[in-house]
Assembly symmetry: C2
Homo-oligomer: 125 residues x 2
Amino acid sequence: MKFDDKVPIYYQIKNYLYHEMLTGTLNPGDKLPAVRQLAVDLTVNVNTVQRALSEMITEGTIESQRGKGNFVTADTTRLAQLKEQLVMTQLAQVYEQLHALNLTDEEIIASLKRYIEQKGAGQNA
Amino acid sequence: MKFDDKVPIYYQIKNYLYHEMLTGTLNPGDKLPAVRQLAVDLTVNVNTVQRALSEMITEGTIESQRGKGNFVTADTTRLAQLKEQLVMTQLAQVYEQLHALNLTDEEIIASLKRYIEQKGAGQNA
DNA sequence: TATAGTGTAATAGTAAAATATAACACTAGG
DNA sequence: CCTAGTGTTATATTTTACTATTACACTATA
């Protein structure tokens, strides 16, 4: 897996797993790949995987069972909260950044629309 | 100044200076504060400031005159390009993140609108 | 009870960012 | 010429993320 060297790998692993958990690749209650397998898949050290998982366990989004494996929480409410939080975090970030560049609310929305349109125009498929 | 420990300080200094340059605090051709003064203001080491400045000099957004100071480029075209690039980078980032969470183009736009409305509703002033 | 598969943790080493400190190079003004 | 203000560079040190490696703890099963 390719990582952005501007942000810690363990942090990017969390986002990767969030993505898997929120888009159906990993469903509530599902067992995650073994930590050693994840390390291989992501070409990363076991300890780095473990660091990401530890934080997620603390957050309650995954649950650990020693000797068995790590499991996506079966608490769908918590997963819904997680998704909402991730979306809000993203929105808050763009909004603040663009607002800081003196774009008005309307300009921010307009620029996003424009971006999406242009993106679609550039598609080949 | 407060920094996010998830991303290098020199990188955040670049963004700080970009902000000053694109919102009128620092105008085209303006002299920047002395590197040692910036270091004090940002409670950061001179070398860290210098690292940020070096990259910006390479990019052509600021120009260095040894013995005199660092200056915002007088090339307003380049500054406009910089702003456009920063905006696009931000938009691309949210879009990809939210798209990765299975939000459609319409949902992305709608969620941004909703965020802005709610933000306004929460204002005290 | 042995073994394979799992999570967990500790140790030691490497690399990058940031710091503290000092020195060097150039400019302007007395 | 000297000095103060500026950018630039270098060295040594600390901190943090990451890696490599090893060991320990628990579960299931042959």
